[in-house]
Subunit: 220 residues, 2 copies
DNA sequence: TGTACATCAGTGAACGCGCGTTCACTGATGTAC
DNA sequence: TGTACATCAGTGAACGCGCGTTCACTGATGTAC
């Protein structure tokens, strides 16, 4: 359904956001709607995201989105999926800088999770919020969400091999790690940290350091 | 506005939830609306909570809530405040069992935070969700939210005195502790943990143990 | 290169709905005498 | 103990609104010839 479609004809002039469309066909409405959805969540919270508002923001009639998304849920699922893909990409990018050392790689993974939440709060909200009620209705969303977790598990496994993380079920240990970084992220996104948000990176360093102390090999 | 009001006249027969009201006056509509709101969030998520639905559930006309709450936000703020009070009470109860040992007390605090989230997910959602946009509009809500954090800071201070937590700004350390337990809680509430939720208490133990390893006195 | 045509992305009007909130009201309650 | 009355919690109808979604349509695009 229009997914990934590319026009082969002449490329019409750019339509910068905000300018009124001057063409009947939009060009890449699907992408524009995803962007609009994100902006709405950022500005007014998840309940500020409506299909009509997204259409308005994309400069298109209110019925147009239905050419690209079956219904509102489908748009939300697409936003969430995009978020998971972007986050996984950021995490992989972060680990690549520490190819040699598993523990540093693992740590980079955790930090980039927090940083993604901080720099993409709207994505993060939709990814973990209750808006997409049943993720299993959207297989490719479930898939990308699982991929993120798999990155953690894999990193743990490598640390275990290198002896820098204790024995134990990697999935369990990953869950521990996950909830630690997720907590900091959730507090950041929900703006619970007030003035404290300034030294966010300090905080992230401290939180993940504690995590690693806890996960490290047991003292003899 | 009806806050804490107690009738001095005859106590009319109970009105169990679900039974149609047989009296013109409800008796304690404010409390009934808070309960109804909670049940709606539990059943259908935060966006399922509407003033009209809450009134319906309490068996009352749609205009009745306005006798007790200025608007919808005010109802949400009241739910959140109730949640913070209940949580603080649960945390204090949990620490009382370990009066002698600061570190055990601190640990009990963290565990009871997670347990509260697990057993009161609807409350937790409203307390930390974006529904109450600006907490500062509701001073008594801000107050109760602050009280929870203060419990953590105080526990940290006592641990530091006893030498079981390292030196450092207690507020910073408390933020670390908070985000750790909050992360686990948020994942539980958002049902991200799937099958893993079964061994929640195990997980909570593990997560908090890691936290304490991290907060403990630095090895010499 | 030019034209007819199938495709389908976008239009605009309309639908039914449930929402938050307001309003003039009614009926139960507690109290002053 | 009995009664008049002020208070105010709850009623029910109504408002305007924005929403999700559907529908018959229109106009731009790419392609087959």
């Amino acid at each position: 359904m229009g997914k990934g479609r590319r026009r082969s004809g002449r490329q019409p002039g750019r339509t910068p956001a905000g300018r009124r469309r001057d063409r009947y066909h939009h060009g890449d409405l699907r992408r524009a709607l995803l962007q609009a959805a994100l902006e709405l969540v950022q500005r007014e919270g998840p309940q500020g995201l409506t299909l009509r508002a997204a259409a308005r923001l994309a400069g298109v009639s209110q019925a147009a989105p239905y050419r690209h998304f079956a219904d509102k849920q489908a748009l939300l699922a697409a936003v969430a999926e995009e978020g998971f893909r972007d986050m996984a990409a950021a995490m992989q990018r972060a680990t690549r800088a520490h190819a040699a050392e598993p523990l540093l790689r693992f740590r980079a993974l955790g930090l980039s999770y927090v940083r993604f939440a901080q720099s993409h709060p709207a994505h993060f909200r939709v990814m973990f919020g209750p808006e997409v009620a049943d993720r299993s209705l959207y297989p490719s969303l479930s898939e990308s969400a699982g991929e993120t977790f798999r990155l953690l598990v894999q990193a743990i496994r490598e640390c275990q091999k290198a002896g820098s993380v204790r024995e134990g079920d990697p999935e369990d240990l990953a869950t521990t790690a996950w909830s630690t970084v997720h907590g900091l992220s959730a507090l950041l996104v929900d703006a619970q940290l007030g003035g404290k948000a300034k030294q966010v990176d300090d905080l992230a360093q401290r939180v993940t350091q504690n995590l690693f102390l806890g996960l490290g090999p047991r003292p003899a």
